[in-house]
Symmetry: C2
Subunit: 101 residues, 2 copies
């Protein structure tokens, strides 16, 4: 059973940059786009592309607003995203357990 | 620091079918090709392709021989593969820890 745990891995989260984004958001719920970009060492384009993918899956919510006169984009993990991340981590844990019996 | 753990993820192992192969081999050291195929629910072609990738990285050793008159292929994890898997699992653990502080 645990041997087929790889079929339960969520491809949206498994991509390593998206996994890092989800992990970063899970701890704090909401982050500034620029802060997230700096934390993960990504370019604007790369982060935007991965966030779109996560947004399409309903895992994050992206809000555009202003801080004073400066545009500001914030990203938050959704309840669906929290659940998906928890399930993904469990699937990984099952694989790790197989490797370390 | 832990936030950039995604850069330490080994792409050869991160692909989920290859991760399942490595996890299966880690527990038992050596498996019959057909046994591995059945355990993971893969086709011949799919398993062969992923094993080639792992063999090129030096993570597994593939031996072709005979059992009686029947050809038999066995797959074993290498010492390098064991180390790579351990490092990969540690990188994942770092990401999981970020998500569950």
């Amino acid at each position: 059973m645990a041997r087929q745990a790889h079929n339960e891995i969520d491809d949206v989260i498994h991509q390593k940059t998206r996994l890092a984004i989800m992990a970063s958001l899970a701890g704090v719920k909401r982050l500034d786009f620029n802060e997230l970009k700096a934390q993960l060492g990504l370019t604007d384009g790369n982060l935007s592309r991965h966030l779109s993918h996560l947004e399409n899956a309903g895992y994050v919510k992206i809000s555009k607003g202003f801080k004073g006169k400066k545009p500001r984009t914030t990203v938050a993990i959704s309840a669906k995203g929290q659940r998906a991340l928890a399930q993904y981590l469990q699937a990984l844990q099952n694989i790790i357990d197989t490797a370390n019996p």
